[in-house]
């Protein structure tokens, strides 16, 4: 078999603890986004659209959903006889048995996977960003510069800069300095978590890093500084499109809202760069006679009889008559019963919001996004205050509240 020019390694083991309830049972890359997608669809589709057909997906935290979702990779055309998508989980070996101890360690433990395809270049991607990018253009820049490592960067505001890995570059975009989440950023070029390495160099530094007991085994903290320190050729690759880190509830909500509008910030409808995802056999969505839908994204299988404004609805959501959904993200299979109001909230999949419930508060006055966990059934007429996170424990309060016969009282 011919060798592959480039193999992609997709880091999908992250817990995403700042997504709280959304990632209690699934890994962050499996979190639902934009109606019919999961976060991992974006890097996977980018790979396929860039002609990369060999992808290793490194999983560790709650991998079941992700394994099932990716399956044999068929929805992304990654069911290949040679290459395709492979799930790489931590494993036992004769001399060692370890969890992945960091992003670099995860790749290190799977160097044999990379070697099998004998590529010249390795892309390291993370599974928690929303963006459409042509990786091939980046690979071309890497080759043209004769680089050992190329890091994709995006311009951010100076206020935001301290949340990212920040790069300083010279006029040729060669990287002169790298700061991980700096207090005083020296530049506004943030790393997107998208790397191209020349394979031999990557291998060399991963092996060196593994032998270093003081290392935290992280690309940003250890590998990149080590390569810079040794005088290797590191280049930045500027990306101008839409890119969003969806690591927090607020940013996940914002990214969903970026899909809306006459000219959305992030356009899913662009036929030149299709985002591929696993599709389920859902009928078309139905809009009832009294329904009002404005500035929203509605997916197949929905039944809309109430009002939906500025919201993103995943497949199979029912909004009954008189119900109002505003400024919210509703994930698959939810039912918003009669006269319930959902405002500025994220409702996880297969949740039932009982009739007359009030979840969240108008965005203008709200103190935060309300969150309801997967699969819960909110009893009728209960009130979820803004910023609340409703999980099983929280539900007990509702039951108690109902027993006290003090319905409609806000649970504080």
């Amino acid at each position: 078999m011919r060798n592959k020019e480039c193999v992609a390694m997709l880091l999908a083991g992250g817990q995403g603890s700042r997504l709280y309830l959304l990632t209690q049972q699934i890994a962050k890359p499996a979190v639902s986004f934009g109606g019919k997608y999961r976060i991992i669809d974006f890097p996977l589709s980018n790979c396929v659209n860039s002609g990369i057909d060999t992808v290793g997906v490194l999983t560790q935290y709650q991998p079941l959903m992700l394994n099932e979702y990716i399956g044999n990779g068929q929805p992304w055309d990654l069911d290949r006889t040679y290459g395709g998508v492979k799930i790489l989980q931590p494993y036992q070996a004769s001399k060692r048995a370890d969890w992945y101890k960091g992003t670099a360690n995860a790749i290190f433990q799977n160097l044999h996977f990379i070697d099998k395809y004998d590529p010249e270049y390795v892309m390291v991607l993370s599974g928690d960003h929303i963006y459409k990018m042509d990786y091939r253009a980046m690979l071309d820049a890497h080759k043209k510069n004769g680089a050992d490592c190329t890091i994709a960067v995006i311009e951010v505001s100076i206020e935001e800069a301290s949340r990212f890995g920040i790069l300083s570059v010279d006029s040729n975009l060669e990287i002169t300095e790298f700061q991980e989440k700096p207090q005083k950023p020296k530049s506004t070029l943030a790393s997107m978590g998208v790397y191209v390495f020349s394979k031999e160099k990557l291998k060399k530094y991963l092996i060196m890093d593994d032998e270093n007991e003081n290392s935290s085994k992280d690309f940003g903290k250890d590998i990149i500084p080590a390569m810079l320190g040794a005088g290797e050729r590191l280049f930045a690759y500027k990306f101008n499109g839409y890119w969003k880190d969806v690591g927090t509830i607020d940013s996940l909500w914002e990214a969903n809202m970026d899909l809306l509008g006459n000219i959305p910030n992030f356009n899913l409808h662009d036929p030149r760069s299709r985002v591929l995802s696993r599709n389920y056999a859902e009928p078309p969505h139905y809009v009832g006679s009294d329904a009002v839908i404005s500035n929203s994204l509605i997916t197949e299988g929905c039944e809309i009889k109430g009002t939906v404004i500025n919201s993103v609805l995943s497949e199979g959501v029912t909004v009954e008559s008189g119900a109002v959904v505003k400024d919210s993200v509703i994930m698959s299979g939810c039912t918003i019963q009669k006269n319930a109001v959902v405002n500025y909230s994220i409702i996880d999949s297969n949740t039932e919001i009982g009739s007359g419930c009030v979840v969240g508060e108008a965005r203008e006055t709200s103190q935060g996004i309300s969150l309801v966990k997967h699969g819960l059934k909110l009893p009728c007429d209960c009130v979820v205050p803004p910023g609340a996170m409703v999980d099983d424990d929280y539900m007990l309060k509702f039951e108690k509240c109902n027993k006290d016969d003090s319905k409609k009282e806000a649970v504080k």
């Binding site: 019919k36 056999a281 139905y286 809009v287 509605i298």
Partner: protein, 375 residues
């Protein structure tokens, strides 16, 4: 006990010339995201029939496009799976014509049927809309020790019904006593042929070789009616939602039927029996501020800026600002420009309606705009 399926993709093409000019009956788009064959294929797969042959005639490129490898119906398989059965014409026997009747079509696939190992064959046409559990018909077939079981639906029959509606008469035990091909006499409830039937494979092969020997060409009159008292033919009476598409009016009406919750529910929301179709990876439909949509069924991938009422929108339809779409069926990738007004219009795929055009048909005669037209 194993079962194989055979689907007739073209047999009723003449009924809807408006939509079958460029395609087969089987690949007529229906219900926002489906094509007619999706019902036949999904019914088979949901009844654990994983070996399906599709008999084609002409113009079947669009059908092959739709089916692809069959993976969207879980029919891309090493054993069984889906097979296209192109019309059989030998290069060495001089002048030969394409098949016309159902029996001639079956004669053309005798080799295929002989090669199968299955005990029973389900035959199904593509002009039917229903979500039916075929395994119940097969069980019934086995229980009654039949050679042939025809699924029927009790329907109120009127004199001017489509000419290819067959009425099946049967005795108290469900044994078929007569088959009428033109319902001319009094109106009333009759069992009509659903164009779904189960044959015992060995029996089917027997009558096919008989048909070859005697040069028979009509299944009903040359074979079934001659043997009706000799052989065991039974009916299976289906109770659920069933309809046939026999004309462009039927096509319009039955698309509009989907706006009824109960019909939609009975077709699409049956537990463990979804209707599968080709995946197109369309993004969710985007509604912008100022859009107004009422009582409509809408697929993914649309962008809606205008007003839509009582309509069926397929994937990738765009309705621009101030456009008003009423009582219409807009197929895949139809573009409606600014201030367009449509009423009772059916647009085929990729139709472009330029800004300001006003078009109207009538509920009794929808206006059909052909594929790729620009208005």
């Amino acid at each position: 006990m194993t079962v194989a399926g055979v689907i007739f993709s073209n047999i009723h093409d003449d009924n809807i010339p408006e939509l079958t000019k460029m395609r087969t009956m089987a690949s007529i788009p229906f219900g926002c995201r489906y094509r007619l064959i999706d019902f036949a294929l999904s019914n088979m797969v949901n009844s654990e029939i994983y070996n399906v042959g599709v008999i084609t005639h002409y113009n079947y490129q669009s059908l092959m496009d739709h089916i692809g490898t069959g993976k969207d119906w879980d029919l891309a398989r090493r054993t069984g799976g889906i097979r296209i059965l192109p019309p059989f014409i030998s290069a060495y026997t001089g002048e030969q014509k394409l098949y016309v009747t159902r029996l001639e079509a079956l004669k053309g696939i005798v080799n295929y049927l002989q090669y199968l190992k299955d005990d029973y064959i389900v035959l199904c046409d593509c002009d039917i809309i229903c979500n039916i559990d075929l395994s119940k018909i097969i069980d019934h077939h086995i229980k009654t020790k039949s050679n042939l079981t025809i699924a029927v639906k009790q329907t109120y029959v009127v004199g001017d019904m489509a000419a290819d509606t067959q009425i099946i008469e049967s005795d108290d035990e469900g044994r078929i006593t007569d088959i009428l091909s033109t319902p001319l006499y009094e109106n009333g409830y009759k069992d009509i042929n659903m164009n779904v039937c189960v044959f015992t494979r060995t029996y089917l092969l027997k009558i096919l070789s008989d048909a070859v020997v005697h040069n028979y060409s009509n299944l009903t009159f040359d074979i079934l009616k001659k043997n009706i008292h000799k052989e065991r033919y039974h009916i299976y009476r289906y109770e659920g939602y069933f309809t046939k598409i026999s004309s462009i009016m039927d096509y319009y009406d039955h698309n509009m039927d989907l706006l009824d919750f109960n019909i939609r529910n009975e077709l699409f929301n049956v537990k463990n029996r979804p209707i599968y179709t080709k995946v197109r990876n369309s993004p969710p439909t985007r509604y912008v501020e100022g859009s107004s949509v009422m009582n409509s069924l809408i697929a993914d991938g649309c962008i809606i800026e205008g007003t839509v009422e009582n309509s069926i929108l397929f994937r990738g339809v765009k309705v621009n600002k101030n456009a008003v779409i009423k009582n219409s069926i807009l197929m895949q990738d139809t573009l409606c420009g600014d201030r367009v007004e449509l009423n009772c219009v059916i647009t085929d795929k990729n139709v472009v309606i330029r800004d300001g055009r006003v078009l109207s048909g009538h509920e009794s005669l929808p206006f059909v705009i052909g594929k790729n037209s620009i208005v």
